[in-house]
């Protein structure tokens, strides 16, 4: 049990945030730098503080974990699994099935560095995998990008709300820095909303029964289902993009950054303003749906330079270029391997772009 005011790691805050929004089940496999999430939940499992937390199980593999989550989600439960890159890859098959069967599962990826085993430092290299539907067959997942420890605590609640509203898997894409960073936070009051789960498979009611299946052997049936998913994704793209901004009102150059990069970019904007550079920050909070409309508005208002700062070799920059539609200069700036630039280096990259 925790107080409403705490000093916690991002991973711990996320675990408590999930518990305080009525998490029913957690299934996962240990992987650094996400392991404080299952460790925190294991410590709280079975305690009276969270009576709705009915299942915690360390799975035999990432693959078993996501499929345990599929079963619990089919029963209408609020279920979460957490991992880091290599495990996120292993879960993709299950996420594809969950998207096809329209199951709200919360999947946390605490992004570590590099392809393969890489290292335990922060990167944002799982952007494509998270935002494009990393598994087979064409689907999307809502992707939330927290930017602080308090947001690590808040986003499970938002994730379940969106997941159940649209009946779709939701990814919280954090990074090793946010997972391990310790900060002060104040939790909102405990609130465990009940969502509509009339679709769940809990047993037939007379002639009415529910079948959650991803197989549609008749082409016209598969076409109908895929079109339904497409319409759902279009609705999410219309209604759910979220972003926040710093000093964009009069900006001639805007840094686009999410997660830990947005914090560094905020400081860079202060430094630049101190040198009379009219810089601003656009921080996507949802990576899918991407806040393309807001970016277009900024470009329409006269922002001619966009510096996309991310801990990869250029992934979100593709979305920024698409949104800008050729009407602004778009450049990519990043670091790889677990390293972070200083705010001053980010500011220098902006100035170099303007020269």
């Amino acid at each position: 049990m925790i107080d409403s005011r705490e000093f916690l790691k991002g991973n711990e805050a996320l675990a408590y945030g999930a518990l305080r929004t009525g998490l029913n089940a957690y299934f996962g496999y240990p992987i650094t730098p996400s392991s404080e999430i299952p460790e925190t939940l294991a410590a709280e499992y079975g305690r009276s503080a969270y009576p709705e937390f009915k299942a915690f199980l360390q799975a035999a593999s990432e693959i078993e974990a996501i499929n345990l989550a599929i079963g619990a989600a089919a029963a209408g439960a609020k279920v979460m699994t957490a991992t880091s890159g290599p495990g996120f890859s292993l879960k993709q098959e299950g996420i594809s099935y969950a998207a096809a069967m329209e199951l709200p599962i919360l999947i946390v990826d605490v992004n570590r560095a590099g392809p393969g085993l890489g290292n335990l430092g922060p990167e944002q290299t799982d952007y494509f995998q998270a935002t494009r539907g990393g598994g087979h067959g064409g689907y999307r997942t809502i992707v939330l990008a927290p930017g602080s420890v308090p947001e690590m605590a808040l986003f499970p609640s938002l994730g379940f709300e969106l997941g159940f509203r649209y009946r779709t898997p939701v990814v919280i894409l954090a990074d090793a820095f946010l997972g391990q960073l310790k900060e002060d936070l104040v939790f909102p009051p405990v609130a465990a909303p009940a969502f509509d789960t009339a679709w769940a498979t809990t047993g037939a009611r007379g002639d009415e029964r529910h079948v959650l299946s991803s197989i549609h052997l008749e082409f016209v049936d598969q076409s109908r289902h895929s079109e339904h998913l497409r319409e759902k994704y279009a609705e999410i793209e219309r209604a759910e993009p979220r972003s926040s901004e710093v000093a964009t009102d009069d900006a001639e150059v805007v840094i686009v950054a999410y997660g830990i990069c947005a914090r560094l970019a905020r400081k860079a904007v202060r430094e630049l303003r101190g040198r009379s550079v009219r810089a601003g920050l656009l921080r996507p909070v949802t990576l899918w749906p991407f806040p393309s409309q807001r970016l277009r508005e900024l470009v329409g208002r006269g922002v001619r330079n966009l510096l996309v700062f991310e801990l990869n070799s250029g992934q979100m920059v593709d979305d920024v270029r698409l949104a800008a539609g050729g009407r602004a200069r778009v450049e990519s700036f990043g670091r790889l391997g677990g390293l972070l630039p200083t705010a001053t280096e980010v500011a220098s990259a902006v100035e170099a772009m303007l020269r």
């Binding site: 499929n67 619990a72 099935y97 498979t201 037939a204 052997l217």
Partner: protein
């Protein structure tokens, strides 16, 4: 013997827990038999509205089209994990899956063994027909040495591919399961060329009921049904029954490998 035959005949016809939809199973396949045994058992237990099945990948992928209960589909091999997730959230519901040998013993062996080892109160029926049926007759983990399949065109070479896996004994090697049984489901040839013995279906009926009862008592139940696949074995139906009796029955002997609650004794 005759009493048992009559009991079997009384279950012919429509059942509340069958949708009535004609199955896609090939003539001579035991999947259809098992579908009926499961539906009959659920009807007898009166639990249709308290049951959730998990469809696996393979020939049983459309089992929910025929068995009239709530259903979730699992990715290939993952049915035991999906069943576990369901059961942990719905401990008072009956959950089960029909898996094939490729699904349960090859791609999904980890999920099967871990659910078994934890003794999850779930029920798994394995249809072991020694071949991949749905994908068109490739080698399975249970394919006997020397058997010709589309991926072992010169016969299964165990020096290259390992020996066939005995699923029932593998599961029973763990302490977790409460009930492990293997049943020979196909009709057996007899001394008379026109007479076949259907005792397997009666044994199967008993095993299905027992497996559900074990779950209701909180135990993990696993029943392996030795079966045929005449289409992919490239035999006539009757040849496949003979092959099953001569080759599969000795390789996968019928047996009760675990019965913690003594359900077989009644």
């Amino acid at each position: 013997m005759s009493a048992a035959e009559i009991r079997y005949e009384t279950t012919l016809g429509a059942l509340p827990t069958l949708t009535g939809k004609p199955t896609h199973y090939c003539a001579g396949c035991e999947h259809g038999t098992l579908t009926r045994l499961i539906a009959a058992a659920l009807d007898d237990l009166g639990v249709r509205e308290r049951t959730v099945m998990v469809s696996s990948v393979g020939c049983s992928v459309l089992a929910h089209e025929y068995i009239n209960v709530d259903a979730v589909q699992a990715p290939h091999g993952r049915a035991p994990a999906v069943l576990t997730g369901l059961k942990r959230m719905l401990p008072d519901r009956l959950v089960f899956s029909v898996q094939g040998d490729g699904d349960a013993v090859s791609i999904g062996l980890l999920e099967l063994l871990y659910a078994a080892n934890r003794g999850e109160p779930i029920t798994i029926f394995l249809v072991n027909n020694a071949i991949y049926g749905m994908t068109g007759g490739q080698m399975a983990p249970t394919t006997p040495a020397g058997m010709v399949t589309t991926t072992t065109p010169h016969g299964r070479d165990i020096a290259q591919t390992g020996r066939p896996i005995d699923a029932a004994r593998l599961v029973a090697s763990l302490e977790g399961p409460a009930y492990v049984k293997r049943v020979f489901l196909p009709v057996r040839p007899t001394a008379s060329p026109d007479l076949y013995n259907a005792r397997g279906a009666l044994e199967g009926e008993r095993a299905v009921r027992n497996a559900f009862e074990v779950q209701q008592r909180g135990g993990f139940a696993f029943v392996e049904f030795v079966s045929t696949c005449n289409i992919n074995w490239k035999m006539s139906i009757l040849e496949s029954k003979r092959y099953a009796a001569e080759v599969l029955a000795p390789l996968y002997p019928e047996g009760l490998y675990r019965d913690r609650f003594g359900v077989e004794a009644r």
